[in-house]
């Protein structure tokens, strides 16, 4: 099958999202669709998926012109769109999810459960998936959910599958599982459009790449002749740094020391200390407990035993409010669920932590906090129109900077950043790294939690790797490389000489 999108133009009001883009995909190839947030990738795919209608331009399938007015048209043509937010119902078993909206019925009109289970089993066998169709979707990890979605697409005889950032929330192991699946699909002559921000994954799994920037196609070709640097340059239009960002460091006093901290089964016997001006990376695979650990230090989760010292004094942190008073800030992962409050505007989101400082007996002095925010907006380079605009009107990168701004307004001594560059485009990522380095220079102790080893290596002075709730190893300097991190994250150990044993 061959899908050919020609001269697609699409505008939303005065915003020209796609300016004359042509894109082809054929069966049996994996094509990466790259671009920064706002480059037009999603719009292009939504047109292909029948969600939006193009202003001009044509789509043809196997040489025949087609019109996609609603998603069902596109599905009928054999195109499946797997959205970033998966469309699975957690409280139904796998097999019912597989047949959602086109359930098999018996003659009497009730659900044909056995038939659905059988067909699901056959599909899993064909795709080499070892899953019990009767399990509830809630119990599956993110990669298997992705796989169930893919199998569902295959069940509808899809010949082209669009995957929108399928690996964003996956660990490296889970990613590998999804990639295996993608290769299998390729062998079955299915074409895949792979949207991702992770460039090394693109090189690993894709055949071809297409890069969009500001609504135009700026580069395309075969991946075997490019490097991640090239791709990043195509995306942002200038060279992107990949060198280590570690700098001359002037470490100050110890800010936090944690001794034998445990919380039921989530993490155990955690001990470490961090000094002023230090950037410490904490990484691991899914289930490593790093988020839970630092949320507990921030007072958002319970601790069962162990001690926390701040500036040498032992503290017991019972609530997030208290943590903030003690000088701890925590920028959460999953910005949409934990970071932003969509019913508050930009400046209110930026000042929620510090309201008490800008108010007298509960009455907010807005002039005072506008002044503080204006200063921050400049130093963080937040791109926005009016500070009373909705937070959701900003791009992902700018939203993240606003969330960062709210914490910086609190003047923290310890800043915990949980996946700070999640869902942020390459340009904004570098901005955020710059900000983090600057903050370290201002003698703030910084913890960066990340699932991207590359991020830890570039940014941090020291890395702690966690595995199933314990600290598996700690390293700095030369030892801090992707191989060692991966080894520790999967349960390997470091010997005294620094050699690892698996």
């Amino acid at each position: 099958m061959l899908v050919d999108m020609k001269n697609i133009v699409k505008s939303f009001g005065s915003n020209h999202v796609l300016k004359d883009v042509s894109f082809t995909i054929k069966g049996g190839e994996i094509c990466a669709l790259l671009g920064e947030n706002g480059a037009g990738k999603s719009t292009l795919m939504n047109i292909l998926g029948g969600v939006f209608k193009q202003d001009s331009g044509s789509i043809s399938v196997d040489g025949e012109l087609v019109e996609f007015n609603v998603p069902a048209d596109s599905q009928k043509a054999g195109i499946a769109f797997i959205h970033q937010e998966l469309n699975l119902i957690n409280d139904l078993p796998i097999y019912e999810n597989m047949f959602l909206g086109r359930e098999k019925k018996t003659k009497r009109g009730s659900l044909n459960l056995n038939g659905m289970v059988e067909e699901t089993e056959q599909m899993f066998k064909r795709m080499n998936v070892e899953l019990d169709p009767k399990r509830m979707v809630r119990e599956l990890d993110a990669s298997y959910k992705q796989i169930v979605e893919i199998c569902r697409a295959m069940m509808t005889n899809a010949s082209i599958i669009i995957m929108d950032e399928p690996t964003t929330s996956l660990t490296e192991q889970e990613t590998a599982r999804v990639f295996e699946m993608m290769k299998k699909l390729k062998d079955e002559n299915v074409g895949i459009i792979f949207i991702s921000h992770k460039l090394n994954e693109v090189l690993e799994v894709c055949d071809r790449y297409v890069v969009l920037r500001d609504g135009s196609l700026v580069a395309e070709g075969n991946v075997n002749v490019v490097t991640t640097n090239d791709l990043a340059r195509f995306m942002v239009g200038y060279d992107v740094r990949t060198e280590s960002l570690r700098r001359e460091k002037h470490l100050g006093e110890e800010i936090i020391r944690v001794e034998d901290l445990s919380s039921n089964s989530r993490f155990r016997d955690i001990s470490f200390s961090i000094r002023a001006g230090e950037i410490v990376g904490v990484t691991g695979l899914l289930g490593d407990g790093r988020s839970e650990l630092f949320q507990a230090i921030f007072g958002a989760e319970p601790v069962t035993s162990g001690k926390i010292f701040l500036n040498g004094d032992q503290v017991k942190i019972r609530s997030t409010t208290q943590a903030i008073v003690e000088g701890i800030a925590y920028l959460p992962r999953n910005r949409k669920e934990n970071g932003i409050i969509k019913d508050l505007n930009i400046i209110e989101n930026a000042s929620i932590v510090t309201w008490s400082r800008f108010s007298k007996r509960g009455v907010i002095n807005s002039r005072k906090h506008e002044a503080v925010y204006e200063e921050q907006r400049k130093s963080l380079r937040i791109k926005m129109d009016k500070h009373t605009d909705r937070i959701t009107s900003l791009s992902g990168g700018n939203q993240q900077k606003v969330v960062l701004a709210k914490w910086l307004a609190a003047n923290p001594k310890l800043l915990i950043l949980d996946n700070p560059t999640q869902g942020v485009d390459v340009g904004a990522k570098e901005d955020i790294y710059d900000i983090i380095l600057k903050l370290a220079d201002e003698d703030i102790a910084i913890v960066v939690l990340s699932s991207e080893a590359q991020e830890i290596i570039r940014l941090c002075d020291r890395a702690i790797v966690m595995y199933h709730g314990v600290i598996q190893g700690e390293m700095a300097g030369e030892l801090m490389n992707e191989h060692t991190i991966m080894n520790l994250a999967t349960g390997g150990v470091l010997t005294k000489e620094g050699r690892e044993i698996h």
Partner: protein
């Protein structure tokens, strides 16, 4: 043309614009239905004003409760117990003030203004505590607000009815001045209470940390908690405030008529309060709500009732119109949201 574009942008961007327009249209309609068949402008104006004072006074109590309900709904909760809390605090007011042999303050030898002031203070505290009790159960017990307030609704009324069985307290006539004091010919005290409380709560919602925290909690509880907002404290205070406002409404009601029907007073009040908030643009999902909108919503429903009365629509059909208004208002607000 210029007006049209101005109107369109306002309609799209100002959440309360369509509600205000709806209210104005209803007021104009009502003015026409009342007619202009008078000797002079003066007598027309007096009749028009009297009609309005009646509308506002009759809705002051429920209007005050709807304001509190707005905050409750904005946190993502609901309070079904307002009607029962009204009866409980109303009954308590009457027991305290009873001029008969069982009157508590009377037994202690307190009468007149000091007794009134003490009664008001005690009843306000009681309302606040009943609300706080609901709030504690919701936050500490981690029980959904719908369940807790459903239970409280049954408990408060049943207990009140049991203890007030066969007991008919008499409220001193002077106490009735609280609601019935006249400025010239106008009995507007309840309206003043409503207006003052609406202004205070409007200010709270717009300019205080508490008001912003209510939105944060309702919009994204997890994010609010991770931003150091004491989510439980905010919720507790919202329910306690609700109880306090209900007790104010109870005092107004007792002082208007001097008695209360404990088995029927306040029944369905929670739904009227919710309806006013929803018509005023408050989202049942939490996070989005407007104090001013609730005042508009209350007035729209009140004016509509007045109109139905003037048109002579049969009483049993009136609730249907209320239902239509509620659904219609939300349909109108729908298209503002999606832009």
């Amino acid at each position: 043309m210029k007006f049209l574009t101005w109107f369109k942008t306002k309609w799209k961007n100002e959440p309360l614009f369509s509600t205000a327009i709806a209210l104005i249209i209803m007021i104009i309609l009502q003015t026409f239905v009342l007619g202009f068949d008078y000797d002079s402008f003066g007598s027309w104006f007096e009749s028009w004003t009297n009609n309005w004072i009646n509308i506002l006074r009759n809705n002051a109590g429920i209007g005050i409760i709807a304001l509190g309900m707005t905050f409750v709904i904005m946190t993502g909760g609901i309070d079904l117990a307002v009607g029962s809390t009204l009866v409980a605090t109303g009954a308590f007011t009457m027991i305290l003030l009873d001029t008969g042999t069982k009157g508590i303050l009377g037994m202690l030898g307190m009468t007149g203004i000091p007794a009134f002031i003490l009664t008001i203070i005690i009843v306000l505290i009681l309302g606040y505590l009943l609300g706080a009790l609901i709030g504690v159960t919701i936050t500490k017990g981690n029980v959904p607000p719908f369940i807790v307030t459903l239970g409280a609704m049954l408990i408060f009324r049943s207990v009140t009815q049991h203890f007030m069985q066969g007991y008919n307290p008499k409220v001193p006539m002077e106490f009735l001045e609280i609601a019935s004091f006249r400025f010239g010919n106008y009995m507007i005290m309840p309206i003043i209470y409503w207006a003052v409380i609406a202004y205070i709560l409007y200010y709270v919602s717009k300019r205080t940390t508490f008001g912003r925290q209510i939105i944060a909690v309702g919009s994204n509880e997890r994010a609010a908690k991770l931003s150091g907002v004491n989510v439980n404290k905010v919720k507790l205070r919202v329910y306690a405030l609700m109880g306090l406002l209900v007790s104010i409404a109870a005092i107004i009601q007792v002082s208007r008529v001097g008695s209360m029907d404990f088995s029927n007073a306040g029944r369905g009040m929670e739904m009227d309060a919710i309806a006013a908030a929803v018509v005023g643009g408050t989202s049942m999902a939490g996070g989005r709500g407007f104090i001013l909108g609730t005042v508009y919503g209350m007035l729209i429903i009140a004016v509509m009732n007045n109109l139905l009365n003037l048109f002579g629509v049969p009483p049993f059909l009136r609730e249907a119109f209320k239902g239509l208004i509620v659904i219609g208002a939300v349909l109108l607000q729908r298209k503002e949201k999606t832009s």
